[in-house]
């Protein structure tokens, strides 16, 4: 079997083996880590012909293509999965997470590499359908989030198939109402208004690391897909009505995100608002042509921010923390509240906050670079009020975060939150120093994302 085909098939084999061991989630996560690292190493060592810069092969009668851009994205996804699976050894996420993610990995590789584009869209569709099981993760009775995700993705993907067919067969520059309807698929996929509900559902219901996988890594492929499609049909994003539709949808998402942030009383909803803020900005970069660097760097910041908040919240949960960010978020009769949390578990909370700040994109945080790029892109567009609106939504998010920090800093009497052990404090201090260094010196991260964007475009 050639190497390119093995990137599609071997993850399924790995998923099968890991799935047989999922009675022991820590062993399964360890094996998954090894498998994901193996894929990363295989791809890293794969030499692409210097003359063409790409390699093709035959897979079930279709062409698979690997170029530097696709390789860059796959390497990032594999590396991300290594981190997530390692964390799953420490914080088991359930029996479906590791084997399910490995199976999705094979389909994502197929989605990126299969040609023509139509086959890629259907592979992505299969991947997104399978993601539903990871979101559900055997939670008894709680099917609404997974169902919402499945339904919205399964409505979006046929529209994308239609859009691909229209672009490949219709005369160029002809944008019909049907084309615009088909492009709604991208609005659903990128969580435009009013279809953003799948994002909040995933964050509220999926296990934390599964949410990072879905909204950080799988979503990266969706973003790359949308940008590749718009690049292949450059007249589409310049269509005034499409631009208006996307701008309206993105604007509404920013407003919803801001309002959600100030009204949130528990952190899943608050985190959902921050992710929506980021995704709204990605959506707003689409009109006028694909802004690869901005969109890709925003998506990478989303992965980093979600990862930090997930680890922070998992550590806090282990220390018996609740989920309230305001007094109103404390359930009636609850014995545990987060009042005074910052005094009992300051470093775990700082990790969570560093992720939240990265998603907000405030200065001197990991997410500032991508958000600055987005603001500059919006300022260069026709709607001059858009950057102001983005800043307003960010301001609402920052206000909500500041208010939560004040609540967490309040002195508390008796609390069930256990203090952090010394070794954890040492590890977290080291981690926070690294985050601080990257926040103060964002050039390496921005260079990485702009290089990836350049390869893809």
């Amino acid at each position: 079997m050639n190497e390119l085909a093995s990137l599609i098939t071997l993850p399924f084999l790995a998923a099968l083996i890991v799935g047989l061991l999922n009675r022991w989630p820590k062993v399964a996560a360890g094996l998954g880590t090894l498998a994901a690292f193996g894929f990363w190493l295989t791809l890293k060592m794969l030499a692409l012909p210097a003359a063409t810069g790409q390699q093709t092969a035959d897979f079930l009668g279709q062409t698979v293509l690997l170029n530097e851009g696709i390789r860059g994205i796959l390497l990032f996804i594999y590396a991300g999965l290594v981190i997530l699976f390692l964390l799953a050894v420490l914080f088991p996420q359930g029996r479906k997470f590791v084997p399910g993610s490995l199976a999705v990995l094979g389909l994502l590789a197929a989605a990126l590499m299969l040609r023509p584009f139509t086959y890629g869209v259907i592979s992505l569709w299969l991947a997104l359908a399978l993601v539903t099981i990871i979101i559900q993760e055997e939670q008894a009775g709680q099917t609404r989030a997974a169902l919402t995700y499945l339904l919205l993705m399964s409505v979006a993907m046929p529209l994308l198939l239609l859009a691909v067919w229209l672009v490949e067969t219709q005369p160029t520059t002809l944008v019909t109402p049907i084309t615009r309807l088909a492009l709604m698929g991208f609005v659903i996929l990128l969580a435009g208004f009013p279809f953003y509900i799948w994002v909040t559902a995933v964050i509220q219901r999926a296990p934390p690391l599964a949410a990072v996988f879905v909204l950080g890594l799988v979503q990266l492929v969706s973003v790359v897909f949308a940008l590749s499609f718009l690049q292949a049909a450059p007249w589409l994003p310049r269509d005034p009505q499409f631009g208006q539709m996307v701008r309206l949808s993105g604007t509404a998402v920013l407003l919803v995100a801001g309002l959600m942030a100030v009204t949130a009383v528990q952190w899943p909803r608050f985190l959902g608002s921050l992710v929506l803020l980021n995704m709204g900005l990605i959506l707003l970069t689409l009109p006028g042509g694909p802004a690869w660097e901005t969109a890709v760097s925003l998506q990478l910041a989303q992965f980093a921010g979600l990862l930090l908040t997930a680890v922070g919240s998992l550590l806090l949960r282990r220390q018996n923390a609740a989920a309230d960010i305001r007094p109103a978020g404390v359930p009636d009769g609850a014995a545990v509240t987060n009042r005074g949390l910052a005094r009992r578990a300051p470093l775990s909370l700082a990790l969570y906050l560093s992720g939240a700040l990265a998603l907000l994109g405030l200065p001197l945080t990991l997410g500032f670079g991508p958000h600055w790029l987005a603001l500059r892109a919006l300022a260069g567009g026709t709607a001059v009020w858009l950057p102001a609106l983005a800043l307003f939504a960010t301001g609402l998010g920052a206000f909500a975060l500041f208010r939560a920090v004040l609540y967490w800093l309040e002195p508390a009497g008796e609390t069930a939150v256990s203090p952090e052990p010394r070794w954890l404090q040492a590890v977290l201090t080291f981690l926070l120093l690294i985050i601080l260094w990257f926040s103060l010196h964002p050039t390496p991260l921005l260079t990485y994302s702009s290089r990836l964007a350049a390869l893809l475009s």
């Binding site: 086959y119 259907i122 939670q139 008894a140 099917t143 339904l151 239609l162």
Partner: protein, 233 residues
């Protein structure tokens, strides 16, 4: 003895081709959304796949049309087995009266001589509105679907029915099995339209894979929805 082949079967059912098949699609779609008995809904879905298969005969090779029907019936089989495993969404038979108190059953209201679920009147109104929309949409020249052969007007009726009632079906409930049936209807409508545009066998195979995977995911969600700990939590 000569066993009938697929062409003989197609010939036997030729009286159902065209408008009768489109009408069957419409009737079964309304049944799937309105009836609360899962057995009847799964049976209606199987009948709908058969009717859609008859419509495929106008755009695809007959052998491929038969495969489409078989995939649809396989999807129905998955849903049927799942629905049986969760006792058709009703209370498990071996439950004690004390345990039953915690279970939230469908609430019924008396509507004349029959008792119907509380949500039935609203659902019926929505279906009526959707049917009006389908009729208007199908007859309005400006909203006609492109590339559909003008000689096959019933195709448009069937596609509009499947897509509009499918979307209604998936939006009208939070039950995974019933919402899933709405989604499968929507996918049927899309595939019927898409098969006019694209007839590559590879694509048809992948779309069959999508249908089966979606059915499996719906089955999984239904199982989790009706697992014992969910019922008595």
């Amino acid at each position: 003895m000569n066993l009938p082949n697929i062409f003989d079967w197609i010939e036997k059912f030729s009286f159902l081709r065209g408008y009768p098949a489109a009408a069957l699609v419409l009737v079964t779609a309304v049944i799937i959304i309105l009836v609360w008995d899962w057995r009847l809904a799964v049976f209606a879905l199987a009948a709908q796949y058969f009717a859609v298969g008859l419509l495929y005969l106008d755009v695809l090779d007959p052998r491929l049309s038969v495969i489409k029907v078989l995939v649809g019936w396989f999807v129905c089989l998955i849903l049927y087995i799942t629905a049986r495993q969760v006792n058709w969404g009703r209370l498990p038979p071996d439950i004690t009266p004390e345990e039953a108190k915690t279970y939230r059953q469908i609430e019924f209201v008396q509507l004349g001589p029959v008792s119907v679920p509380k949500s039935f009147p609203a659902r019926a109104l929505l279906v009526a509105a959707a049917l009006l929309l389908i009729i208007w949409w199908t007859q309005h020249p400006a909203s006609q679907l492109p590339v559909l052969p003008e000689t096959l007007p019933y195709l448009e009726l069937a596609i509009n029915t499947l897509i509009i009632l499918g979307l209604l079906g998936l939006a009208a409930t939070t039950e995974p099995l019933k919402a899933g049936m709405g989604l499968l209807m929507f996918l049927s409508g899309f595939e019927l339209f898409y098969s006019v545009l694209e007839q590559t066998p590879g694509i048809l195979v992948l779309l069959a894979g999508v249908n089966l995977l979606v059915a499996l995911v719906i089955a999984y969600l239904t199982q989790r929805r009706y697992t014992a700990e969910a019922i008595f939590d």
